[in-house]
Point group: C2
Chain length 334, copies 2
């Protein structure tokens, strides 16, 4: 077995992407299945196994997989379960790690949530290479986060740490958030949040904007971006508003863990200086003086499609390592 591989699996709300990854982080081959095709979890794992085996065979890699890493919404690193997987069709308390490991003849499996997987990918292969302290913020439909301290993902005592999309940025009269509370960062700084800001601004104000030609109920963050790039003043203000809220929130995160960098990931992070300029200004203005100028705001260096698979694959090596350590301790204790 000259070239060991791991398998990285990213279970998203729509697609499940899996990749064969070598020790240097090269995705040898990848493919995907539909996440929602089966309402029964065992059927889903059976199809996943079938398709993965097909890909392994094509790449002459059936005997080479050392470990499997999986990123999935609400997947818990400690117990290998998906708990409260609201975006997934299999109900609560799915034994993810155990079921997948069994399907693959006992290959060791480790799981974590998707935001943590992206952070592991960034640390192992992306913009956070060599960093021991950073925070990864995913600006997508929601706002996710993966926190790394002392070179380790922060899981907290229950496996669910790192919900920075749900720190409160508006204590009074804040927007409703999907979590049931009001004023969360996610309600403002996600792609959805930007669209909500656009609707608020367009309804409450009367200054001209090319966005007034759009159906206000269908407006997206992409529409706001396009308008801002075309020079629309109101659209630019929406990004300033969003960046300011993010920068203020980042200043508080820095007071917690003093990271070397905060790394942005996800669709909205591609807005460039429209978002980054007001974000950095607000962060510098609001951060405690001993931290000023120290924490970089960087963009992810991984392709969005690769990051979670690469991160999951890095977790696959960890699963292999943990299994080896467990076996060795058993040998020693015998």
């Amino acid at each position: 077995m000259s070239k060991p591989y791991v398998l990285g699996i990213d279970i998203g709300g729509t697609n499940t992407v899996f990749g064969i990854v070598d020790a240097r982080g090269h995705v040898v081959a990848s493919d995907s299945i539909k996440t929602r095709k089966h309402n029964n979890f065992n059927d889903y794992v059976e199809e996943l196994h079938l398709e993965v085996m097909r890909l392994l065979k094509l790449n002459d890699a059936e005997e080479k997989i050392q470990g499997i890493g999986i990123g999935a919404p609400n997947a818990n690193y400690y117990n290998g379960m998906i708990e409260n997987g609201v975006n997934l069709p299999w109900g609560n308390n799915v034994a993810l790690a155990e079921t997948v490991s069994r399907a693959f003849n006992g290959i060791p499996v480790a799981v974590t949530n998707d935001a943590n997987a992206a952070a592991i990918g960034e640390m192992t292969y992306g913009a956070a290479r060599g960093m021991k302290d950073f925070i990864m913020i995913t600006l997508g439909t929601g706002v996710g986060s993966g926190i790394v301290i002392n070179g380790q993902i922060v899981y907290g005592h229950d496996g669910y740490a790192g919900e920075l999309g749900h720190v409160i940025v508006k204590r009074n009269n804040g927007r409703m958030c999907g979590c049931g509370r009001t004023g969360c960062l996610e309600a403002y700084a996600s792609a959805t949040g930007v669209a909500r800001t656009a609707r608020e601004f367009l309804e409450l104000r009367s200054d001209p904007s090319i966005m007034r030609n759009l159906d206000i109920d269908e407006i997206t963050s992409k529409d706001v971006y396009d308008a801002a790039m075309a020079g629309d003043k109101l659209a630019k203000e929406i990004f300033e508003y969003t960046g300011k809220i993010l920068g203020e929130a980042f200043a508080d995160m820095i007071a917690f863990s003093s990271p070397q960098a905060i790394i942005l990931f996800g669709g909205l992070s591609k807005s460039g200086d429209l978002l980054l300029k007001p974000l950095r200004e607000a962060m510098d203005k609001n951060v405690l003086s001993i931290f000023r100028g120290k924490t970089k705001v960087l963009l992810s260096e991984l392709k969005e499609s690769d990051a979670a698979v690469l991160g999951a694959s890095a977790l696959g090596w960890e699963a292999k390592y943990r299994a080896d350590v467990a076996i060795n301790s058993q040998i020693i204790s015998e």
Copy 2:
């Protein structure tokens, strides 16, 4: 050398307390000197050394000290310096670890800030024994914090992480904070903050209070506590206001690191249910649902006078261990 000891030193703004501590966390003997007697740092260390040696001799422990741990405001674990030691008389950039180690014939020294030292003390000998994830919040003149994740103090990339007294709790029209910004937790939830709330309430409102018999400019958190215990409604409301702000801030901290407990330390934490009841209510009400009911709010189990010395002493064992590892790696590499 049958019984090894370490030395724990707590450098406070007024007193420097030092104790000889055994491996089980028993303070064999302790004493103190005045921190501000010498404006020259070398003179200060000379006196400290003299007094420590006297105490060691009295306890037949001159040859037994394995390591020295020091807690001091703004002391940096990574480089052993006190940087920006605003409350201390020796200027910026004092080589604390190096100077003390030299005075003590090369005994290994490790330093950290006072809030982290208290957290280490609590983890090693107090309410956080056995916990790998907790946050220690010191409610004193200011609000300090020591954060433990995966069993390790969070130092951040620069050694200064854990400034939770300076997260922003009032984004608009917040109170001035000693740090130069406005709206910090410390400006509301410290002993000083409680006194400020009392002044605000007494000036802006007209309902009766026994505190109106006091000189409003001299009012302290102790006065507010005494009034509340005597049944004063306005004084009780001040604790409710303070507890609510703390509980809301704690809910955001939980979203970051999902700690098993938040442990309160310092004078104001002794206010009992006056503070704890509204604090816990606000925390439960504001925390993200997946964390609800999981994080305990506990009181420190260490005497305030002992906590920092014990924490520093635990760091002394770490200093000894680090020195041994460094020597062993050198032997191996030779």
